[in-house]
């Protein structure tokens, strides 16, 4: 590991000022589960690491004035699972309880999950997010069984790593971004937070140098139904092969509005409009959930080694809907 400067922030303002000293040459440390391994492999080489793990104002899970919930970026998965406020949003619990490691539950944070860099093996071996080696696209020519089946016509073929983003986006969550100047803040729909890089120098989110995410906000659950399903290869510590989260507004037993978001199938969380359209005016049954799954994968464009993910994505959509409707799948 190359050396770097370390500074522990004691407030959000303090963190922003520590980040501002070296614009673009900093990294933000919380639970460390992703960043420290990136540092060890020298995949990120910041001049300064700003440790925000002691910033107490970013830890709370609290109600908002309108009856929704505000989740601090430093809330751990264990705190999320234990929170009665988060219990109003069952799809979040579906995800949190699928991360089966007490170490990640107790130290991993929700903000760290959203900023987790892709697990693409070409990226993790030092070939960059686009997986290029001397002009050859490794993620296209090489083994790409774990790569994207949607949004993969550009150079980026990796899949977004966030476990929570699909559920949060299905709940129309917004994210608060602080900085880069002191006192500067912006609320952004989480759906717009993730980007697909077109060049080597671009990241996977809209975070600019000197900014950090501080909170997430969800509007009141208000009777909406939700469910999430991750297809995992192993029952222990593993990354999903495909995942989906659904949030449904129901009227008289039929869906009046659906938001269906897939994970680990595209360089960003993938909002499926075709699946939502199919469900409007329909009850949730085995048959309609199946149709929604089929609609979701109608726009898939698998690579040479990951045709199998199409079926997994379809099943994830179907099961997320059945879970939302209360089935134990």
């Amino acid at each position: 590991m190359r050396n770097f400067e370390y500074a522990a922030a004691d407030s959000e303002a303090d963190a922003l000022s520590l980040l501002a000293d070296h614009p673009g040459e900093t990294a933000i440390l919380a639970g460390g589960t992703d960043l420290v391994s990136l540092l060890q492999k020298e995949l990120v080489n910041p001049r300064r690491v700003v440790d925000i793990s002691r910033v107490s104002e970013l830890k709370a899970i609290e109600p908002t004035d309108d009856g929704g919930v505000r989740i601090g970026a430093l809330a751990t998965l264990e705190e999320l699972l234990a929170s009665p406020l988060a219990a109003e949003y069952p799809s979040l619990r579906d995800v949190a309880s699928a991360i089966r490691a007490i170490q990640i539950q107790q130290y991993g944070t929700i903000g760290g999950d959203l900023c987790h860099l892709p697990n693409c093996w070409y990226f993790r071996k030092g070939y960059g997010l686009l997986g290029d080696s001397n002009g050859r696209a490794l993620s296209e020519e090489g083994d790409n069984r774990y790569h994207a089946i949607f949004g993969n016509r550009g150079r980026a073929k990796f899949v977004s790593a966030s476990r929570f983003a699909p559920s949060l986006i299905a709940w129309d969550a917004s994210v608060r971004i602080a900085g880069p100047a002191a006192g500067e803040e912006a609320w952004l729909p989480l759906e717009q937070f993730f980007v697909t890089p077109k060049g080597d120098q671009q990241g996977v989110t809209r975070l600019a140098p000197g900014q950090l995410i501080t909170h997430l906000e969800l509007t009141p659950a208000a009777g909406r139904l939700s469910g999430a399903y991750e297809v995992l290869e192993m029952s222990g510590l593993d990354w999903p092969l495909a995942a989906a989260a659904s949030t449904l507004e129901m009227e008289g037993g039929v869906v009046s509005r659906a938001k269906i978001v897939l994970g680990h199938v595209a360089p960003t969380p993938w909002v499926s409009h075709p699946a939502a359209d199919v469900l409007r005016g329909q009850p949730i049954t085995e048959a309609t959930a199946e149709l929604a799954g089929e609609a979701a994968v109608s726009e898939a464009s698998p690579l040479k080694d990951n045709e199998y993910k199409v079926r997994l994505a379809k099943t994830a959509v179907k099961r997320s809907l059945l879970r939302a409707a209360g089935a134990n799948v």
Binding site: E5, A20, D21, G32
Partner: protein
């Protein structure tokens, strides 16, 4: 060192360098900035660690003074400086969880925590479970159920199980599997490990 924008200076950057160059105007302005900084409880720059630093880590109930760099992990301190080799270095082997320790009562991977992050916290390693002739029930349970083979992953499993039982003294089989999912045993001693956890759950250890 005081750096950055002075809010009252129209965006001019004052640094140590232009202070030392020393025009009268720059000196006056820098003095003003220094005064502002002095009113803050702790100027940010003084807390930036850029090289070796001596810190105190509380490990297994005792304070230890150790010299660390920002890049030093907690695992490196425990193994290389304090000779607590129960937690394992996983750089070249894939045995997730063999570096598990408790920091402020919560399980974490020592290999991905910076030593500086652990300053001021209570760190517990597997060595703390020896007791004085009275080992922790998790340790005796592992022995009783022969829940180890080569032993490399065992200290990490023991610590993860300790954390799990501290959080949920009476876990079900599913909860045990969920909680210990972050640990891998390449020899496949899971049967003994889950039996041990189930017995401790019934006994409320």
């Amino acid at each position: 060192m005081v750096q950055g924008k002075d809010p009252g200076s129209g965006g001019v950057i004052f640094t140590r360098r232009n202070f030392l160059k020393g025009s009268g105007a720059a000196m006056a302005a820098t003095a003003a900035v220094t005064q502002t900084a002095a009113q803050q409880p702790a100027a940010a720059a003084t807390r930036v660690v850029s090289g070796a630093k001596e810190i105190t880590l509380n490990v297994n109930g005792a304070d230890h003074k150790v010299a660390v760099e920002p890049r030093t992990t907690l695992l490196e301190v425990l193994r290389d400086k304090l000779n607590l080799t129960g937690c394992k270095d996983l750089k070249d082997v894939y045995v997730d969880g063999a570096d598990t320790v408790l920091v402020d009562g919560k399980a974490t991977y020592a290999g991905v925590m910076l030593a500086l992050q652990a300053e001021g916290k209570k760190i517990r390693t597997v060595e703390s479970l020896r007791g004085d002739g009275q080992p922790d029930p998790v340790v005796t349970g592992f022995v009783k159920h022969d829940a180890m083979q080569c032993g490399f992953c065992t200290p990490g499993f023991v610590m993860a199980m300790r954390a799990l039982l501290d959080k949920q003294p009476n876990p079900t089989l599913d909860e045990i599997r969920e909680g210990l999912g972050g640990n891998i045993c390449r020899c496949g001693t899971y049967d003994g490990i889950t039996k041990c956890a189930l017995e401790l759950a019934k006994g409320g250890a």
